[in-house]
Amino acid sequence: MRVFIAAATLALASLSAAPAHAGWRLIDDNEAVSVAKGKIEVTPGEEWNRWTYRPVGRSEVWTLDGVSLNELYFVSRLQDGKTIFTDANRKERPLPTFSASMLLTDIPDFYESSSRLALNTSVFEITGIEASSLAGHNAVRFTFEYAVEGSPLRRKGLAVASIFDEELHLISFTAPELFYFDRDLPKVERIIASATLD
């Protein structure tokens, strides 16, 4: 028997490609851990669960209560020509690819178009963009709101992205606007602030 639920997050949208044996592992809360097989280390500060499946080569998904309630997504060392999410429906809705010539200011649009296609939603809006830093590098930080067809639940997100060595590094967080986003945002902010190069 199988249960079917609407995919409202990027991890869920990539699940069709996930192997059956993928599972969840507990992350030590107070030790710095390398994420997404990349160059960045973060300190969780809370007991997050890490998905053993990686949506794209150097990526990682963490959650506290389930990805439809709080999803922390790490992408590290994304190279020219690669998609930021699983290109699960590339025949009908191919995802855009990262270009090494992109500027930080291009990343919010790149993230938005990738999300719209991956989630098959027309309800997605960038609500703020500002300069920031990630692991000591210049970064762009942006916030967004979205919903998916089939669910009236409003969702919010935050992402911080940096480009160095011609590779994209990104941390994004999505959660329902009601209760979960505000409750978990401080935990996510601490993780982003803890990011260092390993």
């Binding site: 639920i5 059956a20 507990l26 669960n49 699960a88 098959n120 089939g150 009601l178 979960y180």
Partner: protein, 271 residues
């Protein structure tokens, strides 16, 4: 700047064709209700439970997996499930009030919490199965002879957040019973594909196509805290809610193991 969500909410299926909108995970053949740690029957003695209109969706599924909502089926199923729910809840030893909708701002609040409830119970359903268990939700077990420290089981510690107390203010109830069901019946094309898939098994080219999708979740929410204190789902859920008898079967499945409130008089005697 806020996202404008279409007022007409098109609920396509939980199994959406658009691939990206679909998630399928295996669940055990049987499931048992989960009860929040520390939730005791004594807490619900003399409690008032508000039962909101069940969130019911029925549609048909094409051969390609596209789910088309069916308004007529949905309306019939909602009425049947609601009638069965009224009968079932009236047999509970608690004060029960049935409310279809709330008025004004409270109506928006209820809709928002219905949507969050759907996301929360789907998370519980997915992550209470062994292959998808979240270790942080397990109970800690100390290391023993030949066994390292580990987490096992699932603790029901999901919540809608303390803001759900707005529903307590609006209804005067201590608990809310909320139900979500989604059924999608295979259309002729899907049934043909299913038959073709089964025939293929004979020659070793087997494609298993399910006739449709049937899910149902029931949860009891503590309106003081927003915590889900009881949850039930049954992966082998039966009953066609489009007819009254099927709806009764469905509701009986969903309310199996519902915690029985203890009357205050019995409590006093026990103490």
């Amino acid at each position: 700047m806020g996202v404008k969500i279409p007022t007409k909410l098109f609920r396509t299926a939980a199994l959406a064709a658009a691939s990206a909108a679909a998630l399928a995970v295996s669940v055990p053949a049987s499931a048992t209700a989960l009860v929040r740690d520390g939730f005791a029957f004594v807490e619900v003695a003399d409690a008032k439970i508000v039962v909101f209109r069940p969130d019911v969706h029925v549609g048909s599924m094409s051969a390609g997996g596209l789910d088309q909502p069916n308004a007529e089926w949905t309306e019939a199923a909602r009425a049947n499930i609601q009638a069965a729910l009224v009968d079932a809840m009236n047999q509970q030893n608690a004060e029960v009030e049935f409310l279809d909708e709330l008025e004004g701002e409270n109506a928006e609040t209820l809709n928002a919490y219905r949507a969050l409830f759907e996301a929360v119970v789907q998370s519980i359903a997915v992550h209470s199965q062994s292959a998808e268990r979240l270790p942080s939700k397990g109970e800690e077990r100390e290391a023993g002879p030949g066994r390292s420290a580990r987490r096992s089981g699932v603790q029901l510690d999901w919540t809608l957040g303390e803001g759900a107390s707005q529903l307590r203010d609006a209804t005067g109830a201590d608990y809310a019973m909320m139900i979500f069901t989604h059924d999608s019946y295979g259309d002729d094309g899907r049934k043909a594909a299913q038959v073709a898939g089964m025939l293929g098994c004979i020659i070793g080219a087997c494609v298993i196509i399910q006739a449709g999708v049937h899910v149902g979740y029931a949860g009891l929410v503590d309106l003081r805290t927003g915590n889900i204190v009881w949850f039930n789902t049954d992966p082998s859920i039966g009953g066609d809610p489009r007819d009254p008898e099927g709806a009764v079967e469905r509701v009986q499945k969903l309310l199996e193991d519902f915690p029985q409130p203890v009357p205050a008089t019995e409590l006093a005697l026990a103490q």
